[in-house]
């Protein structure tokens, strides 16, 4: 499979995800944000980091970069796109996903391991996980508090577009297990066609047992399935 990782000034998870993808034999290309052409890719990754220093709103400036026009075209044509952390913020700012990521409820930058519960595995991104599986992943963000209007929330719920929610170690989705105040403990969402995923947790940080854990690896294996 071919993948492209888009790189902005301030991206800092781009190399981590490239290592993960290359380990799984993806033919990966790093694509600088000024490029106007995207290589033919089965998967496009918008990585985490602090593109443009989070000026204006996280992801707002990156969403207007040259390469994003190509990413938007590819997304609308059905290419698989994953935006992680700042990548999720960029996908929202460019309109490929709806909603907003507000400042964390407690006003603190949170960097820690959390648990998510797989709500749905009938999609291209989570099919190697079991439904209701509890997965430990890392989060590191200041603006991860997902918010949207009632109409969009209903659309997400009715169409199985919320694949992951924050939970505790036992899988209970509670207020206490919600790290950032996110609406209904939402940790990630799909677009209508489920070819575009935005998520706050970092699966690429959990792709090797030697460094941390390999609980994020099934996500990438799912994409190859």
């Amino acid at each position: 499979m071919k993948s492209s990782v888009v790189v902005f000034p301030g991206s800092n998870c781009d190399r981590d995800i490239a290592v993960t993808l290359e380990k799984l034999q993806f033919k990966n290309t790093m694509v600088w944000h000024k490029e106007t052409k995207l290589p033919k890719s089965d998967l496009i990754v918008i990585p985490g980091g602090f593109s443009y220093g989070d000026y204006l709103r996280s992801g707002a400036i990156a969403a207007k970069s040259n390469i994003l026009n190509e990413v938007i075209k590819a997304g609308n044509d059905g290419s698989l796109i994953i935006g992680i952390c700042n990548g999720f913020q960029i996908l929202i700012e460019c309109g490929l996903l709806q909603g907003a990521l507000l400042r964390n409820f407690g006003l603190k930058f949170i960097s820690k391991d959390i648990f998510i519960k797989i709500q749905s595995n009938k999609n291209k991104f989570f099919n190697k996980y079991k439904k209701d599986e509890v997965v430990k992943l890392n989060i590191a963000h200041n603006e991860g508090n997902f918010f949207t209007d009632k109409k969009h929330l209903k659309e997400l719920e009715d169409n199985d577009l919320i694949p992951i929610k924050y939970c505790d170690e036992k899988g209970n989705i509670t207020r206490a297990s919600n790290p950032n105040g996110s609406l209904n403990n939402i940790a990630g969402i799909f677009n209508k066609n489920k070819n575009i995923l935005g998520m706050m947790p970092h699966p690429e940080r959990m792709s090797d047992k030697i460094c941390s854990d390999d609980s994020g690896l099934p996500l990438f294996l799912s994409l190859m399935n």
Partner: protein, 80 residues
């Protein structure tokens, strides 16, 4: 033409920074404070003489970049 733009969070969107600022002001003794909301302020200088064209352009700036309309409202004021 000069404009000023204020971007604030919508009424029903939680503003944790505003809340903290409000609480601090109360702690400083300003107990008659009812509410405070934090926002962003932009000063815009446009090389455009037609007022309605300029207004439209500032509106476009607000809609496309300066605000996220799901969570924020904007107000445009012409300065001169």
């Amino acid at each position: 033409m000069k404009f000023s733009v204020t971007v604030t969070l919508k009424k029903d969107v939680l503003d944790p920074q505003g809340k903290v600022v409000g609480q601090t002001l109360k702690n400083m003794g300003m107990t008659n404070l009812i509410q405070i909301r934090q926002g962003k302020f932009f000063e815009i200088d446009l090389d455009e003489k037609n007022p309605s064209k300029a207004q439209d352009q500032v509106k476009e700036m607000c809609e496309k970049l300066l605000s996220n309309q799901i969570i924020e409202d904007f107000k445009i004021k012409q300065k001169e």
